[in-house]
Symmetry: C3
Subunit: 332 residues, 3 copies
């Protein structure tokens, strides 16, 4: 048979290409680092995230990203982050290619480079979310891909959407980002989320308190950045020193493995654990945050305290990611 | 830019929240055990399951659960059950976060508790389907989650949706649940599906025949429940004893591993195998069921016998799960 | 409550069953081998694939296969192929049950046969895409399944959708399939894609050049088929011999592991590598293709050459699979 005799499958005239939204400068952008964000663009994403929250509460999902396929490429598992992106695209009417397990067993194990994998996936998809154990991998992927790449964690590098959801949570919980006393607690040396959130907070009028064991203090370079920004900053070894005045307690885990001398770990570990007793000393409007998972550093009995914001923080991650996806795809 | 200048992404006024269905008491309910079901509520779910079957035959899918996200959290793989739930939510217009493999490599391996994992996933999703190797895990998850939890098997505990689909299959194949002679065959000691189906059948006017090796007889407690219910019941060692009168033959596997003495296994194994020769002795309207997978306990040559209902049973599982999902989400 | 008091969930009268397309003989067909395709049916699929490309460019996705559930059953991982099928069904409004990892840990490990797995999955789904390491497995699955089965690679057997996308790519890149000189390069002995594409090309007026190490020459049977078809054919050991006249260079990898004598591999390997220098000798309209992944056999510096068609080839795979899915489901 000849193709000219075919009845067309689609009425292409009727198929819409865009919703007329401009993306406000985000259209086509890769999201690789918190350094890409100004207070204005943060405010824009947060406003969109609030709309997402309202829409989800009202209807569960919308068709804003109908027709969009997201490639969710995770070279290391992260249930929380991949689930958040999957829910985000699905609640906007798009769909997902989940490559969240066993990437190592497939093309990659046959020796394919990340550049080739990314250029393959962009043939099928409209946006790529990448989790990779190596620093710089998201940048490399973005250099090769013609579709937007969102960095969902590149090893010791960045995890910008986590920092955005952390900042959004502070904003939503406390109504403002200015005039706050934020205490970061735990492993401040290796904690990627602490570093990224700190950088974002430098845009605002905040006081910072860094609470860690000596060997896990904030890296010198970042500390100097904070000082150069003219921020009111102090370091301490015990969360008890900051609990009374803090508006935000951002808790991370102090891992035993970081200590050469286990006796040293045993001696200090309790200084970084949030208990109901400690919470009694805190302000009534203080919020406790944690990037999760936690393993003992916040007691379970703290969970029912209304100031425990860590699960609301998880939910905010979905809204922020919905906003980012809509923005980089030019639909917000 | 200021957020007040934004053109809204969604027309929230137009977005529907509910279809006006009441859920008939199921709305928000966790599905943990067959003990939650009365004959009335079973009849309600079965009526909805029939509607699902008709809808799928007509259109493949509907939008009843559009906007719903199901978290499919499987700590141990079960392709059959997870595929059934995934198809169920998709055929109702909802979507899925599949966490069906390698959960052990992610947050969980970092030491996160089931309670935290569940409270994280409920931030993204509207209903959680949980498979977990430990008895009581579904109850624990439900205690922490604010969204409905459906138990898809908790080790030696329960697997209620399997029992519901088994009962629904008997009902659909034979037109009634009363007046039937049901024979359970195989491993009646450890067979979770046998225990749950037996409990549900106690609601009806049935006769029960239990066919097993001596060491795999029905647990004493359950046997006493059956007797206390005033049911006509007998135990036997050979399926040949029951084949002529049975309306239902519910077959499970007798695993070699259960026997300390392999000679004993060899001596009895053929008593629990369904062959075409055995089928010749059965009634014309009898049905053979099996929770699958099977490994030799039903000969492949039995498959073409119209009384072989085990693949129809699989399909019924999808309809029953569709009905349950719609019900607990308040849309049925 | 009685089921007769239920308000129906669905308006079944309004639910459409079909779009009126005939499927042109493909409806319900299994896609197992390239031998099933005539020039007419190839032209039909290619015309539909072009419509898919235009629709995706215009709208991203359509509702043509709304209500369709695809079971994507991969017994061995192949990110490229599974992602392509997943994107294909999603861009047509259908959904997917992804069983692309760890099948070996589930029912299958409990001893379930492929026949039973397939008959289980067809209870949930409308079409099954199967990747399996054993030759003949797709045929076996199709023998048991009542829904269409698409072979996505059965070991040393076939991978027909790859051959179709290869042929479609040649057609789209060069405007015709007749009058072309096609050179196949690399491992022609074990290369499944080379064998299938060669068979399809026998339908057309082409010249074939086979370029391989001595131990990796085209199998004798296939070579005889080519000769019997009256095709202009030659074999050679060096891609430099064919580069000047070729319209298509179809490159595959020469694996070190194929050689008993590594010195022999080292001596010949450079004859099968595509470099920018080699490309200078080629025609301006020649195209370089590769089934991917590649590992060194095409230099990365060739990628920016407009004649490098291998990533466009990947994209064509999605369109061809969309066309096949629509066709076997009777919607094209």
């Amino acid at each position: 048979m000849k193709s000219k005799t075919l009845t067309p499958l689609f009425d292409l005239e009727k198929m819409a290409g865009s919703n007329g939204h401009s993306g406000n400068g985000f259209t086509g952008m890769d999201i690789l680092s918190v350094n890409q964000f100004s207070p204005d663009s943060l405010e824009y994403i947060f406003a969109r995230a609030r709309e997402m929250r309202e829409m989800v509460a009202r209807a569960g999902a919308a068709d804003l990203l109908k027709g969009v396929v997201l490639a969710c490429l995770f070279y290391e598992p992260s249930t929380r982050t991949s689930s958040s992106f999957i829910a985000a695209i699905e609640r906007l009417g798009g769909s997902v290619i989940p490559i969240t397990q066993g990437v190592q067993f497939s093309s990659v194990s046959k020796g394919e480079t990340l550049a080739d994998t990314v250029r393959t996936l962009e043939q099928y998809s409209d946006v790529i979310v990448l989790r990779h154990p190596e620093i710089g991998s998201a940048k490399l992927a973005a250099d090769y891909a013609s579709v937007p790449v969102i960095n969902a964690g590149d090893g010791a590098g960045e995890h910008p959407t986590q920092a955005l959801l952390d900042l959004f949570t502070i904003r939503e919980e406390l109504g403002s980002l200015n005039g706050l006393k934020v205490a970061m607690v735990g492993d401040l040396r290796y904690g990627r989320t602490v570093h990224s959130l700190t950088k974002l907070l430098l845009h605002y009028d905040v006081s910072l308190r860094f609470v860690s064991p000596e060997i896990l203090r904030l890296p010198l370079t970042l500390m100097n950045e904070v000082i150069d920004a003219g921020i009111d900053v102090r370091e301490t070894h015990d969360v008890a020193d900051v609990i009374e005045n803090a508006d935000v307690l951002y808790v991370t885990r102090v891992q035993k493995e970081r200590f050469n001398d286990l006796a040293q770990y045993e001696a200090v570990k309790e200084y970084y654990v949030i208990t109901p007793e400690l919470m009694e000393q805190a302000q009534e409007k203080m919020v406790v945050m944690h990037p999760l998972p936690r393993v003992g550093e916040i007691h379970y009995s703290v969970d029912k305290d209304p100031r425990a914001a860590y699960f609301r923080q998880v939910q905010n991650g979905m809204y922020v990611r919905m906003a980012l996806l809509a923005a980089v795809l030019g639909r917000a």
